[in-house]
């Protein structure tokens, strides 16, 4: 497994304030250096932050109103500014069709509830792909 030396800037997108807080608490105890942690309560705000800030990894919920996680992922990949950002889906999704659709897009999916170790391993793998 790759080692991460440079602080990783992370954007968490979830419309549930409890999950956002749990994610922040989790990210603050990871074993590698985490830089800035940004939070967005919906896809539109998530895209705005991803385009403005230097984000390495997006942790993305699926079931959100207006723009769901899958649509946000597609938009991130369509934009020159954000196409290389690593995206990890963090979801409690139970719909098999939705899960298949995410898998077809090659998305890494972590199930809720998650452990610190699972999040850590996924970020190292995904952030490591971009060097």
């Amino acid at each position: 497994m790759k080692k991460i030396l440079k602080p990783v800037n992370i954007l968490v997108v979830d419309d549930n304030p409890v999950i956002l807080k749990v994610m922040r608490n989790t990210l603050e105890v990871l074993s590698f250096p985490v830089g800035e942690i940004y939070e967005a309560p919906d896809g539109a705000e998530g895209i705005r932050i991803a385009e403005e800030k230097d984000i390495d990894v997006v942790l993305l919920d699926v079931n959100m109103p207006d723009m769901d996680g899958e649509e946000m992922f597609v938009r991130l990949k369509q934009s020159e500014k954000t196409k290389d950002v690593a995206v990890i889906v963090i979801s409690g999704e139970t719909d098999p069709d939705k899960l298949n659709s995410l898998a077809k897009k090659g998305l890494k999916v972590i199930e809720k509830p998650f452990s610190v170790e699972t999040i850590e391993k996924a970020i190292i793998e995904e952030a490591g792909k971009n060097g």
């Binding site: 304030p17 409890v18 999950i19 608490n25 989790t26 409690g92 139970t94 719909d95 509830p113 452990s115």
Partner: protein, 118 residues
């Protein structure tokens, strides 16, 4: 962070209860809306009904996700069952059957009780 550690975070636990109450209230209101739409019988009512079923599904989905983080097994299992039962209605845009309406109503009542006993 493990579930027991999160339980010690009082502010986060208070937020969990608060948000669960909000989703339960939103679920109750959506269930009421599906009942009203059945009586109205129009295209507009059908569309409102589909939105209400999605809101109901979302309520159980979020409660389940939060309960999982706090290791609240009964709340997690009950929300998961209700969410799973609602999925066909969400996908097909069908109205709730009498049996499903009853199951959802009972699930909301039990979740309300469980949340207040936390």
């Amino acid at each position: 962070m493990t579930a027991p550690e999160m339980k010690k975070d009082e502010e986060l636990f208070r937020l969990f209860k608060e948000e669960t109450r909000k989703y339960l209230k939103s679920g109750r209101s959506a269930l009421e809306q599906t009942r009203n739409s059945k009586e109205a019988d129009s295209k507009e009512a059908d569309s409102r009904d589909a939105d209400s079923v999605k809101t109901l599904y979302k309520s159980f989905h979020e409660i389940k996700n939060m309960a999982g983080m706090f290791d609240k097994k009964m709340i997690y299992e009950l929300s998961l069952r209700a969410e799973t039962a609602l999925l066909p209605a969400v996908k097909d845009g069908k109205e709730l059957s009498k049996e499903l309406d009853e199951l959802i109503s009972k699930s909301l009542a039990t979740l309300e009780r469980l949340t207040e006993s936390l």
